[in-house]
Amino acid sequence: MVTYLVQRLILALLTVWAISVLAFVIIQLPPGDYITSYIAQMSASGGAVSEQEAEALRQEYGLDQPMLVQYLRWMKQVVQGRFGMALEWRRPVSEVIGDRLWLTMVVSIAAILLTWLLALPIGIYSAVRQYSPGDYLATFVGFIGLAVPSFMLALVLMYLGFRYFDMSIGGLFSDEFADAPWSLAKVWDLAKHLPLPALILGLAGTAQLIRIMRANLLDELRKPYVMTARARGVPERRVILKYPVRVALNPFASTIGYLLPYVVSGSIIVSLVLSLPTVGPLLLKALVAQDMFLAGTIVLLLGLLTVVGTFLSDLLLLWIDPRIRMEGKR
C-alpha cells in the first residue's frame, strides 16, 4: 500500500513538472510576445513604441533570452512562491491571483453543492419512478438545461434581474465592498450576490448529473441483490439508499479529479459574462496579452489540482467500492 502511494506521488510530481514545461511552451507558441500586445495597447492610447524601444523593453523583461532561460527564471520564482511578475498588472502573480482564487472556490463550491443537492434526489427519483410524469418533467427540464448555453442564460438572467428585481449587475460585491477588507458585512454582501452565478454555473452540470444518476441507478435496480433485499423485507427507502445508490455513486467519485480544477478555473465564459472577480477571466486576459507568467501559473495550478484530484478520487474509490479494495489487496 505504502509503495503504491509513493509510486503515485513520484509520478504525480513528474506529471506536474511536465505540465509546467508544456504550459510554458504552449503559451509561447503563438506569434509575438507580451511586447507586441503592449505595442497594440500603446497605439490604442495614441502612443508609439519604436523598434528600439521595443527591443529595450524585451531586454528589460528578459523576453529576448532563449525560452529555456526564461523558463528557469520563472521556475526560480515559482519555488520562491512569487510565481514571477504579472506583466500587464505589474504586480507579483501570487498577489494578482490571491483573492480571486478564494472567490473562485467559493463560487464553484456553491455551484457544485447546488448541483448535487438538485441532481442526486431528482436523479434517484426519476430512476425509481421511471416513466412517471415526474420523470418526464425532470428529463424535459434537464435536457433544456443541458441545451441552453450557460453564457446565454447568464445574459438573460442578468437583464431580467435588473429589469424586474432591481438586482445589481454582475460581480460578486457591491461597489463599496469591492476593495474593502473582509468583514461580516462584506460576507453578507457576497452571500447576496452568490445565488445567481451559482445557479447558472450549477444548472448545466445538474442536467448532466441527473441523467448519469438515473442511468446508473436504473442499471443497479434491476440487479438480483436489490430483489433479495426487498424479499428480506428491508424497507424500500433503505433498500434503495443503502445499496444501489451507493454503487451508482461510483462514477461521481471517479470524476472528482476533474472537479478540483473546475473549482478553481470555474467556467471561464460564464465568469466573464457575469463579470465575476474569479480566476477564469484572468486566465483569458493573460492569454490574450501573452502574459506567460500569469497564464503559465494558472495553467500550472490547474494541472496541479487535476493531479491532486485524481489522487483523491483514487482514494475515494477505494473507500466507496469494496471490489476495488479487494483487488488492491490481492
Partner: protein, 691 residues
C-alpha cells in the same frame, strides 16, 4: 440605494421576453429603430446631438475672484493644520474657469466602469488638465492649461512657456522650470531610459533643447523653424500630452516631471548600486523597471501630480479610485477651487456587456467610454426609469471604418499590382454601399463618404471631396475594372487573376474587439463587392496579432478608424504612412519616411511620394501654409483613394455619453477627438452633483 421603479406592464414583459429569446445581441437593433431612419422623420441620433458648448476661461486678471474657498473635506484638514490654507495652495495666477452652465457644489463620488489595467485611457482623459497647453471646447483654438501663456518666436525656432507663479505639485512642493530641465537632462537625454529621441521633439531629424529662463519660464529651442510645435504642445503628443498620459505604462515623455520625487530613484543622484538596491527591495528586477513604476500615476499613489484627481487605489485592483488634489491649479469664477467632485471610483467590468448593462441600470454617474452605439435603443428605453440622459458626441474624422490599403504589399505580386492601381482602388470604393453600412452599423447617424475630415475643421479640403469616388456606382466601378484588364470572370461572376491562378481574392484584415464592429462591416462590404465581381476574404485576428502583421508587412487591406486625421499634422498615422509605430498603409514606406530614406522602401506611386514630401515640409511652415498643404494632401489622398473611407463623423468611438441627471455642467454636446482628450476640454473638474 432605493430607486423608484415603475411597474412593468404585461406588454412590456412580453416584448422583453421576445427580445431576450433572440439573445441580448438582438436587443441592439430592434426593427422599430431601423424604421425611424427612413423617410423625412428626424433621425434618432439627430435628437440626441445637442449644441456644442463648453466651459470658458477667464484670462483677464481684473475679472478674477479675489477670495477663494475650498471643499469641506479640505477645509477640515486646514483646520487641523494638515494643509495650508487654500490661498497658499493655488497658484498666484490660477486658471479661472467659467463652468458651462453654473457654479457647482462640492462633494460626491463619480462612479464609472473600466475594463482592467489595459484601460488606462479611461482615467488619463479625465485627468488631462496636466497638459501644458490645451484647446478651447471647439477644438480649434489654443488655450492655456498648466502653462499660463506662450510665445512662438517669429522665426519658428523656439516656443517659450510661462508657468504660473506659486504653482504646486500635489504634495505641496513648488512646480518650476527645474522640473522641465530635470526631465530633459536626466530622463530624455538618458540613453538607458530613452534609447531614441522622440519625433514629437524633433524637426527634420534634429532634436530640440529645453532651457530654463527663470523659475517660471522655459524655452523649447530647435535648430530649424518648427512652427508646428505650438500645436504639438497643445495636442495629445509626447511633448504636450501631459504627465499622466506620457509617463504611464513605461513611457518617459511629457516634457516635465516631479524632479524632487523622482530623483530619489535615479542613479545619477543616488548612485547605480543604491538605485538597484532600492528596486530589489521593492521586488523589481532593476532600477529602470522601478523608476518607471514610480512615475506611473496609475500605479503609484505617492507620485506628485498636477491633475485634478490623484490615484489612491491603483489601476491593478478591482476598483480604481482617485481623490481630489488639494493643490489643483483651477478655480471657478466664484473663487471655488476645483474640482467639485471629491472622488472618482471606477469598478472593474470583466466584459463590455456587463459594463453596458451597468450603465443602463444607472450604476454609473457618467460613462462615455465602452458604451456602444448599437445599444442605443436599450439606453433610450431605460433613461427615464433610471434617470440618466443619453447624449451623442460625433467625432470629426471622416471614416470610422477605413479600408487602409497597404501600398508596400509585395507577398503576392498580382494583388500588389492591383492595390497600387488607382482605378482599382476607385472601383473598390464605388462598390461600397455606404448608406446601407450607415443604417446598419451607425443607426443612420454617421456621414457617408471619403476619408476627408468634417467640414467644420480647418483642414477639410471642401465639401465636394466628401463624395469624390466615394458613392455607390456599380456601373462605373465595373467599367473601371474592365478597363484595367480584369475582364475574365468565373462561373460565379468573380473576376479572375491575370496570371491564371484563379479568382482574384483580396484580404480584408480586421482586429477583434474594436470600438466599431469592423469585422461585421467588412462582411457586409464583402457582400456588396459581389456586384463588382471582387472576392473579399474577411479575416479577423486578435488586436496584437493585427499589429504584428502590420509590422511584418503581411496585410493587404486592413480596416481601422481614421481618428486623429482631423488634425493631420499631430496624428498623421491613420492618414499617411509616416509613423512606423502604426503604419497600416505600408510599414516599409513609414520606415523610409521616418528614417529620412535610410531604411525601408520609398512608395512606388509618384502621387503618394509627392504627398509625403509635402507633408515633410509642413512642420516648418506657418499656419496658413500648413492648412493649404493639408488641403492638397487630402485632395491627393481622396482622388487616388489611397485609403477608402466609408462612414464617419459619428459618435461610434467614445461618443455615447450616459450621464446621470444628477450630474451638473454636462455640455449638451462636446467635441469628441483625441487632441481634445474628450472629455478633457469639457473640464471634468467642473462636473458636480446637483442637490
Amino acid at each position: 440605494m432605493p430607486k423608484k421603479r415603475t411597474a412593468v406592464s404585461r406588454r412590456e414583459f412580453i416584448r422583453d421576453a421576445a427580445l431576450l429569446s433572440g439573445g441580448l445581441a438582438a436587443v441592439g437593433l430592434p426593427g422599430s429603430v431601423r424604421g425611424q431612419t427612413a423617410g423625412a422623420r428626424p433621425k434618432l441620433g439627430a435628437q440626441l446631438i445637442g449644441k456644442l458648448e463648453g466651459p470658458e476661461l477667464i484670462l483677464d486678471p481684473a475679472k478674477w475672484p479675489k477670495k477663494f474657498s475650498e471643499a469641506p473635506m479640505l477645509a477640515d484638514l486646514v483646520k487641523q493644520g494638515k494643509l495650508p490654507p487654500v490661498e497658499q495652495r493655488i497658484p498666484k495666477e490660477p486658471l479661472v474657469i467659467k463652468p458651462v452652465h453654473e457654479i457647482g457644489r462640492y462633494g460626491g463620488t463619480w462612479r464609472r466602469g473600466f475594463t482592467g489595467p489595459g484601460d488606462a485611457e479611461n482615467g488619463n482623459r479625465i485627468v488631462s488638465a496636466d497638459k501644458l497647453l490645451f484647446w478651447e471646447y471647439t477644438g480649434t483654438q489654443h488655450r492655456p492649461s498648466v502653462a499660463r501663456q506662450w510665445l512662438l518666436a517669429d522665426d519658428g525656432k523656439s516656443v517659450t512657456l510661462y508657468l504660473r507663479k506659486g504653482h504646486k505639485w500635489s504634495d505641496g512642493k513648488p512646480f518650476t522650470a527645474d522640473d522641465f530641465v530635470f526631465w530633459y537632462e536626466d530622463v530624455y537625454l538618458n540613453k538607458d531610459i530613452t534609447p531614441t529621441p522622440h519625433p514629437d521633439f524633433m524637426i527634420n531629424g534634429k532634436s530640440g533643447v529645453v532651457k530654463k529662463v527663470d523659475e517660471t519660464t522655459v524655452i523649447f529651442e530647435f535648430p530649424e523653424p518648427n512652427y508646428l510645435f505650438l500645436d504639438i504642445l497643445a495636442g495629445s503628443t509626447a511633448m504636450g500630452g501631459g504627465q499622466a498620459l506620457w509617463q504611464m505604462q513605461g513611457r518617459a515623455m511629457g516634457a516635465y516631471m516631479p524632479a524632487h520625487y523622482v530623483k530619489q530613484f535615479h542613479p545619477k543622484y543616488i548612485g547605480l548600486d543604491a538605485a538597484n538596491a532600492k528596486a530589489k527591495a521593492a521586488n523589481f528586477d532593476g532600477w529602470l523597471a522601478y523608476i518607471r513604476n514610480r512615475w506611473d500615476w496609475r500605479l503609484n499613489p505617492e507620485l506628485p501630480v498636477l491633475t485634478p484627481w490623484k490615484v489612491v487605489t491603483p489601476i491593478n485592483n478591482p476598483t480604481w479610485v482617485m481623490d481630489r488634489n488639494p493643490f489643483f491649479y483651477e478655480v471657478d469664477t466664484a473663487g471655488n477651487q476645483l474640482p467639485y467632485i471629491d472622488r472618482i471610483q471606477m469598478t472593474l467590468a470583466e466584459n463590455l456587456e456587463v459594463l453596458n448593462l451597468r450603465a443602463i441600470a444607472g450604476q454609473y454617474d457618467l460613462q462615455e467610454r465602452h458604451t456602444a452605439m448599437t445599444k442605443l435603443p436599450v439606453f433610450l428605453e431605460n433613461r427615464d426609469k433610471v434617470g440618466y440622459d443619453v447624449r451623442l458626441d460625433p467625432a470629426l474624422n471622416g471614416s470610422d471604418a477605413t479600408l487602409q490599403i497597404n501600398h508596400a504589399y509585395d507577398a503576392d505580386s498580382e494583388v500588389a499590382k492591383w492595390l497600387q492601381t488607382a482605378d482599382f482602388r476607385r472601383a473598390l470604393s464605388m462598390g461600397i454601399d455606404r448608406d446601407q453600412l450607415n443604417e446598419t452599423f451607425w443607426l443612420g447617424i454617421g456621414v457617408p463618404g471619403s476619408v476627408a475630415p468634417s467640414e467644420t475643421t480647418p483642414y477639410s479640403p471642401g465639401p465636394e471631396w466628401r463624395k469624390k469616388w466615394s458613392t455607390l456606382d456599380v456601373k462605373q466601378a465595373n467599367a473601371l475594372l474592365d478597363k484595367i484588364g480584369l475582364t475574365k470572370k468565373d462561373s460565379e461572376g468573380y473576376r479572375l487573376r491575370l496570371d491564371g491562378k484563379g479568382r482574384l481574392r483580396i484580404e480584408l484584415l480586421t482586429a477583434a474587439g474594436s470600438f466599431v464592429p469592423h469585422t461585421q462591416i467588412a462582411e457586409m462590404i464583402q457582400q456588396q463587392w459581389k456586384k463588382i465581381g471582387i472576392q473579399a476574404d474577411v479575416k479577423e485576428v486578435e488586436r496584437s496579432l493585427f499589429e504584428t502583421r502590420m509590422r511584418s508587412n503581411e496585410q493587404q487591406i486592413s480596416i481601422w478608424a481614421n481618428d486623429g486625421t482631423e488634425l493631420l499634422y499631430l496624428f498623421p498615422r491613420h492618414g499617411l504612412p509616416v509613423d512606423p509605430a502604426e503604419a497600416k498603409m505600408g510599414h516599409p514606406i513609414a520606415d523610409w519616411y521616418a528614417s529620412g530614406g535610410k531604411q525601408g522602401k520609398a512608395p512606388k506611386d509618384p502621387e503618394l511620394l509627392k504627398a509625403l514630401e509635402l507633408f515633410r515640409t509642413a512642420n516648418g511652415k506657418k499656419l496658413p501654409e500648413r492648412i493649404k498643404i493639408a488641403h492638397e494632401i487630402f485632395r491627393m489622398m481622396i482622388d487616388g483613394q489611397y485609403s477608402i473611407g466609408t462612414v464617419g463623423q459619428s459618435p461610434a468611438t467614445m461618443g455615447v455619453r450616459i450621464a446621470s441627471r444628477k450630474m451638473g455642467n454636462m455640455a449638451s454636446r462636446q467635441i469628441n477627438a483625441q487632441h481634445c482628450r474628450t472629455p478633457g476640454t469639457s473640464q471634468p473638474s467642473t462636473y458636480y452633483f446637483k442637490a
